[in-house]
């Protein structure tokens, strides 16, 4: 246990408490074993109009504090073997090279990584440089997830993104030269976008030859600038029917070009599915560090405080950064597992599911399953239960019934 004792945070001048810190018992973070690690890097150069993530816009003065906070969280985390690591954000590529190196080293110091460990780092196209890629590669990073969003200049503008199309192409080339797996994030249904434009955009993306795509329909969430623009009538959402067509077009075109659809928003060349993200959908356990990051151990899920400064104050003051904590009941866990499993196109195998969760989906939600099967929203395919395409399109209207069914 000695390795897990909190360090003395007094060295920190910005955020530390004065005087000695009394070690806390129990530890500030839930404890559990996991073979996956997520690290949240909150920095962004500006906040995009549709973004409600935990981000820190502005100066990088907080970098040293953040490095120390991750190190502190590491001390509160059980060491072990990792098969996947994911640096997300925010924008991890905004970290300076020294700060990134310190973080990469921290992961190696605290954990053992299996040789074939999948290690993803998210990046903004304009941040990708050969030196940066070299640093990541040296430390075992295998995969770059590029926030490309679109290959059309007006659309990038409509999306309130700061990078140029050329940045994307250059970054793609550099990543591929570095021999790293490439994933691109794409957005459809930007304000004013037509179906033809989306098809054009999609074909640019296909031409990159990236191994993996994450494709998101733009959603306007509470607390974003787009939300208030829409409320004031200054921003029009793409009509639902067009959104549906764009989504279906995505499914068709990417499948035709050789990318398998494996989760609601994710597509991969065979063998390139994101192993880390699959752990979320397979209800596995994962460690997490950084503001707003969520960890999960056997039904205990904790989310760190999303405000970067609050997170730092707490961690560096020796206090728990946990903002929300929940202990899921067995019933909630298995229903959640069913929903997450059905978000993957592989769906759920009833016996495999029952082996882990003590009941088949049919036993868990007989009435709802029967209704959805009859309505053609769910189907049996090679012994597995999965969404039909129509079901996929309206899946959010299905989950509630599976999460809570009376009898």
């Amino acid at each position: 246990m000695s390795r897990l004792a909190p360090s003395n945070p007094c060295q920190d001048r910005t955020f530390g408490a004065q005087g000695a810190v009394v070690p806390q018992e129990p530890l500030p973070l839930a404890q559990g074993r996991a073979d996956a690690l997520y690290v949240h890097v909150p920095f962004c150069d500006h906040r995009c109009g549709y973004c409600n993530f935990a981000v820190w816009v502005g100066s990088k003065e907080l970098e040293p504090a953040l490095n120390r906070a991750w190190e502190q969280e590491a001390r509160w985390t059980l060491p072990g073997r990792l098969t996947t690591v994911y640096f997300g954000g925010g924008t991890p590529s905004r970290l300076s090279l020294p700060a990134m190196e310190r973080l990469l080293k921290l992961v190696h110091q605290h954990f053992d990584l299996v040789p074939e460990c999948e290690w993803t780092v998210e990046a903004n196209p304009q941040d990708v440089t050969p030196q940066w890629l070299e640093l990541l590669r040296e430390h075992g990073v295998t995969r770059i997830s590029l926030g490309a969003q679109s290959f059309l200049p007006q659309k990038l503008q409509a999306l309130d993104r700061r990078h140029q199309v050329e940045h994307i192409w250059r970054a793609v080339e550099l990543v591929q030269q570095a021999g790293l797996v490439l994933s691109l994030d794409l957005i459809f249904a930007a304000p004013g976008e037509s179906l033809a434009q989306w098809v054009q955009d999609l074909h640019c993306a296909i031409r990159t030859g990236a191994e993996h795509f994450s494709v998101y329909g733009l959603t306007i969430e509470r607390g974003t600038r787009f939300w208030s623009l829409r409320r004031r009538g200054l921003l029009q959402e793409v009509p639902e029917e067009l959104q549906a067509q764009m989504y279906e077009t995505t499914l068709d075109h990417l499948a035709q070009a050789g990318w398998q659809h494996y989760e609601v928003s994710n597509f991969a060349r065979p063998g390139f599915q994101c192993q880390h993200n699959l752990k979320y959908w397979h209800a596995k356990d994962y460690h997490a560090w950084g503001p707003g990051a969520a960890r999960h151990y056997q039904g205990i899920r904790q989310t760190n405080h999303p405000s970067t400064t609050t997170y730092l104050k707490r961690v560096l003051g020796g206090r728990s950064p946990v903002w929300h904590s929940e202990r899921l009941s067995w019933e909630t866990r298995r229903r959640e597992a069913l929903v997450l499993g059905l978000r993957t196109t592989a769906g759920v195998h009833p016996e495999e599911f029952a082996a882990r969760w003590g009941a088949t989906p049919q036993e868990l939600a007989p009435q709802a399953l029967e209704n959805f099967l009859r309505q053609g929203l769910l189907t049996w395919h090679q012994g597995r239960l999965r969404l039909t395409r129509r079901g996929l399109l309206v899946s959010d209207s299905i989950w509630g019934e599976l999460l809570d069914e009376e009898g």
């Binding site: 609601v264 990051a293 929300h324 929940e326 209704n371 209207s397």
Partner: protein
């Protein structure tokens, strides 16, 4: 020591709402020393919170006052009458206890619909009417014009009017003087057989029924055994007396006097307004004229929003009906709404009052179905059925004739709105009776029309057409045959019983379209198309489709999103649970008011 009958005056105040009835009554209490200055500051006669909020007096009360005038001590009985048309019968019984009425008219508002209706009711009872123009302290008082309106519309002599301000007290002693000088003393023989009329009652948790009476003939003593002729029950008078305004027990009440009786009666349902109290051995020939059983003209279904509150709702309804026998309820079931009650009311306002009390006192969340009037249906077998719920409507094949209640509506409004109101009344199947000018700028329009049209949305339409300046009142005329049909609403092919309405055949298309359109707004989209239809029998006359959800999918669901998303999905499901499911379609509770809203808002 009993009060000589010639020194008694029984009177009431009649007025349109807010013209100052309660304030003047309190002023009179103050002037006669019945209450102190401090007590005056609280409105004394309206004791229910609800009444105060709405500025109307629902329960009639009687106060006995003493006033010394020209060397004589007069007994003044002030009987507070309910002002609203729903309580028309109760008003008529209260008026029957008086010899005179103060007709109170606001010096700014002038004559309004209830002013007219109440004056006619008082004239029908042969009361002496003293016009009183109130609120003359107002800067914008238009006394001359209002006097002219009083003359024009009511045929009263404006030179007899007293000008007063209930607020400042100016003119109040002139009012009292006029009561004594102009209103005749009651007639009646204290030696004759006992006849006392019940004009009101209320329930006291400790004492049981408190019965308000006016002794017409004879006398009534403590410990006497009396018979309620209509109810046919015999009771011993445990206490009697009058309110001054505190209850003051007495040994006897005699002809001409007004007071209360306490007879250990456990339920108000035994105390009928208009019934006669007489001696224990009295026969039916002693019954005073004018008794009528309560006429419930408006019915609606009341259901607990949460089915688990059924018992609570029942208890609450029981409590209310103890205090208000004119309100009635019987259990009813609906496919759509589950277990609830069919409730009968004297009118729309009565319905609203009961509903508000339920919500305030019992804190119950209620689903109310559209109100309907009471129809009479003559079937081919020659029987007449009273229909208080569209569900009870017999098969069209069996129906010989459907009759509906008709009312005479009087509108008082600025003359410029006569045209639009006439147009509205024509649309609502009104038959024009007459127009009278109160003054060059204000008029009374009298129209006969179906009560169903009145309760549908007439009041709201009047208010909106006249920008709030119009008022209305109505009286029941009787039943008339009409071409009425039952309009059914089908959701997803299933008939939703709680949404059926009875309407005129010619209106069915308009109503059906409006309801179906409203439901389309209220019902969320589903995973399949939801068809909403309005039908008469098997013939569909209006139809809307709520298209299925096309796309509803969360793009991102990674580690940090899962909790939030799961809660969101579960919450949506929770919301659905509170809806009523018809087949596979979830119908929110407010949709059941769509039938109302399709016309307009509820009456306010």
């Amino acid at each position: 020591m009993s009060q000589p009958i010639e020194l008694i005056r029984n009177f009431c105040i009649i007025a349109h709402v807010d013209h100052g009835k309660s304030t003047l009554a309190d002023r009179i209490l103050l002037a006669t020393g019945a209450i102190s200055e401090r007590e005056f500051r609280e409105q004394f006669l309206d004791d229910l919170e609800l009444e105060r909020q709405r500025g109307i007096t629902i329960k009639a009360r009687a106060v006995t006052l003493h006033w010394d005038y020209q060397g004589q001590r007069y007994e003044l009985n002030l009987i507070d009458t309910p002002g609203h048309v729903d309580f028309h019968y109760e008003v008529s019984r209260s008026l029957a206890c008086c010899e005179g009425a103060l007709l109170l008219v606001d010096a700014f508002q002038g004559v309004e619909a209830q002013t007219v209706a109440n004056t006619y009711a008082a004239l029908e009872q042969d009361l002496t009417i003293i016009p009183v123009i109130n609120k003359i302290d107002l800067k914008h008082a238009r006394v001359e014009e209002v006097l002219q309106e009083v003359e024009q519309s009511l045929g009263l002599d404006p030179s007899e009017a007293i000008l007063c301000s209930a607020k400042t007290g100016q003119g109040v002693s002139e009012v009292l003087q006029a009561v004594v000088e102009r209103i005749p003393p009651p007639q009646g023989d204290p030696q004759a057989a006992l006849q006392a009329m019940i004009f009101d009652s209320h329930y006291d948790t400790y004492r049981g029924a408190i019965t308000y009476v006016r002794v017409v003939n004879g006398r009534i003593r403590r410990r006497q055994r009396v018979r309620l002729l209509k109810a046919g029950t015999v009771h011993e008078v445990q206490e009697l007396g009058c309110f001054t305004p505190a209850p003051t027990p007495k040994e006897e009440l005699h002809a001409g006097q007004v007071g209360y009786l306490i007879c250990n009666i456990k339920s108000l349902s035994e105390v009928h307004i208009g019934d006669t109290v007489s001696t224990a051995d009295a026969g039916p020939e002693l019954a005073l004229p004018g008794y009528q059983p309560p006429k419930r003209m408006v019915y609606c279904g009341l259901y607990p929003a949460d089915g688990e509150d059924y018992q609570e709702l029942r208890d609450a309804l029981e409590r209310l009906s103890i205090n208000d026998p004119s309100f009635e309820f019987v259990p009813e079931t609906s496919d759509a709404l589950g277990f609830g009650f069919r409730c009968g009311f004297l009118g729309l306002l009565h319905m609203e009052i009961i509903q508000q009390r339920l919500e305030q006192e019992a804190q119950l969340d209620l689903v109310q179905t559209a109100p309907t009037v009471t129809y009479e249906v003559l079937t081919r077998d020659g029987r007449v059925h009273r229909i208080t719920n569209p569900q009870q409507m017999p098969d069209p094949g069996q129906i010989q004739e459907v009759r509906q209640p008709m009312v005479r509506v009087s509108f008082v409004l600025p003359a410029e709105y006569i045209g639009p109101i006439m147009k509205l009344c024509t649309q609502r199947r009104g038959r024009f009776v007459r127009t009278e000018y109160l003054s060059p700028t204000r008029a009374i329009v009298v129209v006969d029309m179906p009560l169903a049209e009145v309760i549908y949305d007439l009041y709201d339409r009047l208010k909106s057409i006249t920008h709030g300046y119009g008022t209305m009142d109505y009286e029941l005329l009787g039943y008339e045959p009409a071409d009425l049909v039952k309009l059914d609403i089908l959701v997803g092919g299933k008939r939703v019983d709680a949404l059926s309405v009875i309407c005129h055949r010619e209106d069915a298309y308009r109503r059906g379209k409006a309801i179906v359109g409203k439901l389309k707004q209220e019902i969320d989209r589903h995973l399949f198309d939801v068809v909403i239809q309005a039908a008469i029998g098997s013939r569909v006359i209006a139809r809307e489709t709520i298209p299925a959800i096309r796309k509803n999918v969360t793009a991102k669901c990674y580690g940090g999103d899962i909790t939030r998303k799961r809660k969101l999905w579960a919450k949506q499901r929770e919301g659905k649970k509170r809806m009523k499911s018809i087949g596979q379609v979830d119908i929110p509770q407010r949709a059941f008011l769509a039938v109302l809203d399709a016309g307009a808002q509820k009456r306010k």
